[in-house]
């Protein structure tokens, strides 16, 4: 029954395809399906929380031969998060997207995208993971190009060409794995890789995986596609991309590097260096940009650095910090892009220099928008604070002072960027906003559309407040996940149905 989230999203997409031309019906159905999907994810999460790891073998082929679907705590947490941001974006897009863009199957593709993400989070087979990556890329490519503006096509071309490169590297890595072990089931591979004599080849394989997932999650030398493409599609699409697509790369990295290539010293050092450089380049890039979409795009890169940092340190505390940061980051980044979409709708531009006067004209909305902006920085009671505390603590334990310096620097750069944004967009008086935008301004939209845009921001802001104020629950969750990740025997036993032979 643990495949239910995937199957449900698939059915949702298929039903929506039947109503190709009835856009209003699609809107209602999409929100409805997203709510039910969220319900299913919560149910699955509670099941796994109580009963431990659940496994199903698709097609009834036994473990190392067939495709195992595994729901461990990490997987279901990611499924839950993707359902939450899926619901938010589904509501937001009904309010904000223009008819012409919705007319070519936005909602069906959107549900197929969520299906791909949830499939990737639940699969226990490395090749199947690749297939879900492809599902995600194809649907995200469609979402990027819907509307077909020149700028969009340019962004999409960069996005797709680099992601295809990453996919082929991933496939080559899988080829290596299969050649080395003769198996594709991750649990089985984990046991067999442990017993291999040829450590050099294993390291090379892990390097290939690092590059492949590194391109997907936009870490230091491979991030150029992200700021070039993420600001081009409509904000609803960027929101789901920002919240989940780069995090899919991080998920895959966490999964493969803890389960299969556990604790490779050399790889850890490389990751620490890459993390530091990612933080630096993302933060500096964000300071330079004037377009709000691009600023947030660079901030994504900056915070990917934090996530890699925890994986690079590779202690239980560090992994826990990474998980906490991941939970916080998915919610906040999705929200940020919706905020930027709302600001775009209100003012008709995303240029920081032209924007202004938000606080004077919309005081309540501005307070609402302050929540995601400042939890991103990590101002103490808000959600980003706790995650960074754990990362820094983990760094202190392993004496990675160099990395701590960069984490603190990254936080300062984020603070700088957000403070500048707050000053320019919310406090400063506006100077001559362009009076002509495509489509309606926020003030001219029907009341229901206005609420449909504000409500998801409110929803996600409430969730990030929850993460911040009852952090003990999230800490408990991240502790459980990190102990499961650092000691994969439970996972392996559950998948293969045997006592793992640890050499």
């Amino acid at each position: 029954m643990i495949v239910l989230p995937i199957i449900f999203q698939f059915i949702a997409g298929t039903i929506l395809l039947f109503f190709w031309r009835k856009i209003n019906l699609q809107k209602v159905l999409s929100i409805l399906f997203s709510v039910i999907g969220l319900g299913i994810s919560i149910w699955l999460f509670l099941q796994v929380w109580e009963k431990g790891i659940m496994v199903t073998q698709s097609g009834d082929w036994k473990a190392p031969f067939g495709i195992s679907i595994v729901a461990d705590t990490f997987g279901v947490t990611m499924v839950l998060l993707s359902s939450i941001s899926g619901l938010a974006v589904s509501i937001f897009s009904t309010g904000s997207m223009r008819k012409e863009r919705l007319a070519f199957g936005f909602f069906p593709i959107f549900h197929f995208l969520i299906m791909g993400l949830q499939g990737a989070f639940l699969t226990g087979d490395i090749f199947n993971l690749y297939v879900w990556f492809e599902v995600v890329i194809i649907s995200s490519f469609v979402l990027l190009t819907l509307g077909g503006k020149k700028q969009q096509l340019e962004g999409a071309l960069k996005y797709v060409s680099l992601n295809l490169l990453a996919s082929s590297l991933f496939l080559i890595g899988i080829g290596f794995i299969y050649g080395l072990t003769g198996s594709l089931n991750m649990a089985d591979v984990a046991i067999k890789l442990d017993g291999l004599q040829n450590r050099g080849l294993v390291s090379v394989t892990s390097g290939i995986f690092l590059v492949a997932f590194g391109i997907k999650s936009a870490i230091f030398p491979m991030y150029f596609w992200l700021p070039a493409s993420y600001h081009t599609p409509p904000p609803a699409v960027s929101a789901i991309f920002a919240g989940l697509l780069t995090k899919l790369g991080i998920y895959a990295m966490l999964r493969t590097f803890t389960l299969m290539f556990g604790g490779d010293e050399f790889m850890g050092d490389i990751m620490v260096v890459l993390a530091a450089l990612t933080i630096l380049s993302g933060g500096l890039g964000a300071i330079l940009q004037q377009n709000m979409g691009k600023v947030f795009g660079y901030l994504i890169i900056c915070h990917i650095g934090f996530l890699i940092a925890g994986l690079g340190i590779y202690t239980e505390l560090a992994i826990m910090g990474t998980i906490f940061y991941l939970i916080h980051d998915i919610i906040v980044k999705t929200n940020l892009f919706m905020v930027s979409g709302l600001i775009l709708k209100i003012n008709g531009t995303q240029d920081i220099k032209e924007l202004g006067g938000m606080y004077k004209n919309f005081p309540l909305l501005s307070l609402l928008m302050a929540i995601p902006l400042f939890s991103l920085v990590g101002i103490p009671p808000l959600s980003g604070f706790w995650a960074k505390i754990f990362l820094i603590q983990a760094g202190l334990e392993t004496k990675d002072f160099f990395l701590i310096g960069f984490i603190v620097l990254g936080s300062f750069l984020t603070l700088w960027v957000i403070a500048r944004l707050w000053g320019e967009v919310f406090w400063k008086n506006s100077v001559g906003l362009p009076k002509k935008a495509n489509g309606l301004y926020f003030g001219q939209m029907p009341l229901i559309d206005q609420w449909l845009m504000v409500f998801p921001i409110f929803l996600l802001a409430a969730i990030s407040l929850y993460i911040g104020f009852s952090a003990e629950n999230i800490i408990l969750l991240s502790q459980k996940i990190s102990s499961e990740l650092m000691d994969p025997t439970g996972y392996i036993e559950a998948v293969l149905g045997l006592k793992a032979i640890t050499p």
Binding site: M1, V3, I7, F10, I11, G13, T14, I15, L17, F18, W20, T56, Q57, S58, G59, D60, I69
Partner: protein
Amino acid sequence: MKSLIFKTASSYLLPLLLLFSIFILLRGHYLPGGGFVGGLMASIAFLIHSFAFGLKETQSIIKINPGYLMPIGLAFAVGAAIAPFFVDAPLLKGLWFEEPFRFIGMVGSALIFDIGVYLVVIGATLTIIFSITDTV
């Protein structure tokens, strides 16, 4: 295209190719073939017909908008995938009828899945080709 030979030939080719595509679809479980190849062949049959007689004529043969074949096919596929849930088996397990059917042989849920793929491939290919031909 104005060639008489091509027109005459294609009016015979359409049913032949369609029959052959169904044959390929049915033999596909153990032998080379299956839904994807069968679907491509069927769409090639319609494509040749549209070259000979024009788009309008072909659309009037197909009757429904080929775009709708995609969700129908997906529904078939998902139905075959979740059918094992009703007998308490995991996802995608092949279920088979006990007795072989006449002329066709053993029939199982894998065939339903393949039919789904067949329809999706026809739908997708024809949608793409028709919209390209429409704009040219």
